[in-house]
Amino acid sequence: MNRLRKWLEDRLGLSMFEEFGQKQLYKPVPSHANYAFTLGTAALVVFMTQVASGILLAMNYSSGLEQAHVSVHQITFVLPAGWLIRSFHAWGSHLMVIILLLHMFRVFWYGGYKKPRELTWLFGCGLLFLMLGFGFTGYLLPMDQVSYWGTVVATESFMGLPVVGDKVGHIIRGGEEVTNATLSRFFIVHVLLLPAAVAGLIAGHLYLVRRLGISPRASVKEEEAQGYENMMRTEGVPFAHHMYREVTTVLFVITLQVALAMLLPFGLGEVATPDATPKGVKPEWYFLPVYQLLKYFPKLVGILIINGALAMFVLLPFLDRNPERRPGKRKFMMAAAAIGLLVTLALGVLGYVADKKIGHYEFDIKGIPHKVEEGAK
């Protein structure tokens, strides 16, 4: 074994990688790092499993308009364990969005986006948007009624953009309607462009995290005065000490993903037919707040509100000039975030109940309940 090691060492210089690994392992992290600080690793692992399961699915998937549904049917009902891999992949996409949102919430809570980590936040925002892009493009691929009409509704939202709306819609759909061209480009974006872009952004994000370290509890001014490395010498712990938490979270997330895939597998609806619109078509849950908001305002106003809110979210490190990181000392930001979160949640819930009958109430498209008269037909 030693001889093999030496043989490889002489040719590849493996000790360099080993030293790099050790250095990373013993790099200090702030002592307050808890389980909430493991969500980034969880997202990375879920992304890796998504790539693996996605490759397996792509091997059996056909992106032609007529073959798509047939191939997904084949995967789901005929291929051995095809259903499991597809459900694992589909649940992975939901888990990914949940984990990323929780991760960003943790960064916000601990003020981790503040100077000098503004770029880390921007890379993170980029990753979140790309992941939503994965959800958006992947949703169409089974080509059943729900996925087809969900995509029709979602792509229509882009057409409301001022001046360029029609052009943008045309580019996304590859024509006037959701057709074979839409399916082909969604598939290529889903399996080629987005993974490459995400891999690039992950590399950048990780580089920044390792270079700048995890933010301390102290304020920006204190960090600047004392220097991050000096602070970590006194209050930091080696990353290795924190690693058991990472292992725990990763195993928990994988178990959860497998549990969901096995016990609540994804089925497949009727093949998409452009002639018959099913009732209550909606996009994925993470697009519901945006989808619902557009119902309350003229399209242009709605789009301006959404873009304004997104710009504020992305540019948070530059808008929030308070140097404090402790939540108790950032009352204004905390209140603003709570309001933003509540409004988003409320819109999401309204989007969920809209155009649905729950108990004795029928909700209209704006989510307003109307009591259904007993015995009415």
Binding site: R86, Y244, L251, M262, L263, P265
Partner: protein
Amino acid sequence: MIAFLLALALTQEPVKTDAQCMACHKEAAEAWKSSVHAKHDTTCISCHKTDVVDAAGKHAFKAPFVSGTKNLSQNVCGQCHEKETAEFKKGPHWDEDINPKAKWSAKKRQGCLTCHEPHGTLPAVRKQIYDQRCTHCHKENSSQRKLITSYMAAADPFDAELEAVKKLLEHPLPGVPYEKAEMARESAEDLHRTLRMLQHNCEFKELEKKIEPAMTPLKAAATDLQGRFDAATGSRRKYFLGFLGLMVVNLVLLRAWCIKKYSGGKH
């Protein structure tokens, strides 16, 4: 006289919209709203055509208006329900003198509306028709009654089995092939449609013969699919519990190893 006729002409307008019919015929309208006809956009005027009605709501009964059970049966239903009408004409109940099977008096002759209620909510139900219509004329122990009850004893379980297979197929379990059951459902549905159509001619003996050979594969498909569902659900639970156990062991060991190696035994 001229003035009277002019006034009469002014007060009488042909009924052009369904809303005008429904304004007076409230009961029929209410029943129609949830009927199969309403779903297929077959409205009052589709069957009854138009009539001239005065301000007091009195019908003039002028052509092309169609009213009455007999007229509607003979002249209207067949416009859409072509095959059913053709079958019915072959049978013993059709009201035409040229039909050699129609041996009883004209008063007793039947039409579509004898069994079907077009304003109602549901298409005719076999048992209901038997109880309310067939038994009305055909006496107990009559050969006709025996034929009908024997047919119903075969057709009702067939329908129930078909419903059971349809229910199973509503939510197919991923990973369990269901093509066999799907094929059985399709051919059973074909037969079900054929029976529904052919039973209009009341040749129950012939119909009964068609059911038996179809029932066996349908039953087999349902049992097979249910068995596969149960087996898959059971083995999935077992596999998952095994996986869960493995992950817990992994978690405990890895966590302990990490703590021992990197955290100096403390956490």
